[in-house]
């Protein structure tokens, strides 16, 4: 199973294209290995599901959408963010424990942070297979510096993709960080 963590707006469109690329690759066996797919979206996000259903190839009609609480809404105070973040982390831990995804794929929205930590934690504890992986694609708009999500996840992502050469140069000492040129 693959967990794809969605954000909103531009993040969703980008994630749709990456998921599509994995599912529509020439090698059908490899493409099938990413199925089934579960999309995780913030409970406040009402447009992503519809948007993605239009983008997805026929093979992924069985894709499921799961709504989770947001760890932090834009403009929320820091004190209440602590509680909502803990709540989101508990949810993430539960879902990842229940579904045991092989791959957690995400691209930058705050929602993905607790999921990646949960996946990392459960892998260390043996609940997830040792070959399960976390792939983080940095937001397209980060050209010279990493996002907060990126900084939090750089230490534990198995593959960390950036879109621009200046970031690739700046973090060239990180073996998990890769730059493939413009992929979107």
């Amino acid at each position: 199973m693959t967990y794809v963590i969605l954000g909103s707006g531009g993040h969703t469109a980008e994630m749709g294209r990456l998921t599509q690329a994995l599912l529509q690759q020439e090698d059908a066996t490899k493409a099938a290995s990413y199925q089934p797919i579960r999309f995780i979206l913030a409970s406040s996000d009402s447009t992503s599901e519809q948007h993605l259903r239009q983008l997805l190839p026929k093979q992924a009609t069985k894709a499921e959408f799961i709504q989770v609480p947001r760890s932090r809404s834009v403009g929320q105070s820091w004190l209440s963010s602590i509680f909502t973040t803990l709540w989101a982390l508990l949810w993430s831990c539960y879902l990842v424990w229940r579904d045991r995804p092989q791959l957690v794929l995400c691209n930058g929205p705050g929602t993905c942070v607790p999921f990646c930590y949960a996946a990392f934690l459960w892998r260390c504890m043996g609940r997830l297979p040792s070959k399960s992986r976390i792939v983080f694609v940095e937001s397209f708009c980060r050209v010279e510096s990493l996002s907060l999500s990126g900084r939090l996840l750089l230490p534990l992502a198995d593959l960390f993709v950036v879109h621009w050469p200046s970031l690739a140069t700046r973090y060239s000492h990180k073996s998990n960080l890769r730059y493939f040129g413009r992929i979107l």
Binding site: G9, G10, A13, R17, L18, A21, L22, Q25, D27, K30, S33, Q102, L103, L105, K131, R133, V135, S139, F140, C141, R142, V143, E144, S145, D158, L159, V161, W164, R178, F180, G181, R182, I183, L184
Partner: protein
């Protein structure tokens, strides 16, 4: 090249200076010189023009102005000959993905805004232009939008990404 329909969008931000600059006399005259007939302004949380001002511009310059706060803007983007916007990633991507001429206006009020990075990078690769608020009217008069490059996706790079994930999972 004619800029018949120009779409100005501030997204969800408040950017009064952009709305004021684009509706200033020199900017409107520059647009008019480029055959602009209609200016659509999505002003979000910024102050719109008064009805009187809209009427005055219509009468004196023959320029139609339509303003709204928010609405789904796919058609506005599709119909525009030029998109003028703030440096939001969404606006930049709308310009690139729809192969539109684009001019990003930098909000000097928001210091340390990482979104500049994207606009600057895309401008350095000739996909769009960017401008300070103060230079907007001059840029509207002089920029050569035909010199911009169309944005093409690069499927071979996406294949490299897929190959890397495949390898990671095997």
């Amino acid at each position: 090249m004619d800029l018949k329909t120009v779409y100005v969008t501030v997204g969800t931000t408040k950017f009064d200076a952009l709305v004021a600059a684009i509706t200033s006399e020199p900017a409107l005259k520059a647009l008019k010189t480029r055959q602009c007939q209609k200016l659509i302004i999505q002003h979000g949380n910024s102050l719109p023009l008064t009805e009187d001002a809209v009427q005055l511009i219509r009468d004196s310059l023959g320029l139609e102005i339509e303003q709204y706060k928010f609405r789904p803007n796919r058609e506005d983007i599709r119909d525009a000959d030029l998109i003028i916007g703030h440096a939001g990633a969404g606006t930049c991507m709308d310009i690139l993905n729809n192969n539109k001429h684009g001019l990003i206006v930098i909000n000097d009020q928001l210091m340390d805004n990482h979104q500049w990075e994207l606009a600057r990078q895309l401008a350095s690769e000739n996909y769009l232009y960017y401008s300070k608020v103060a230079d907007l009217d001059e840029n509207l008069a002089t920029l050569d939008f035909n010199a911009l490059k169309p944005y093409e996706t690069q499927p071979e790079n996406l294949k490299k990404f897929v190959a890397a994930v495949n390898e990671l999972m095997s």
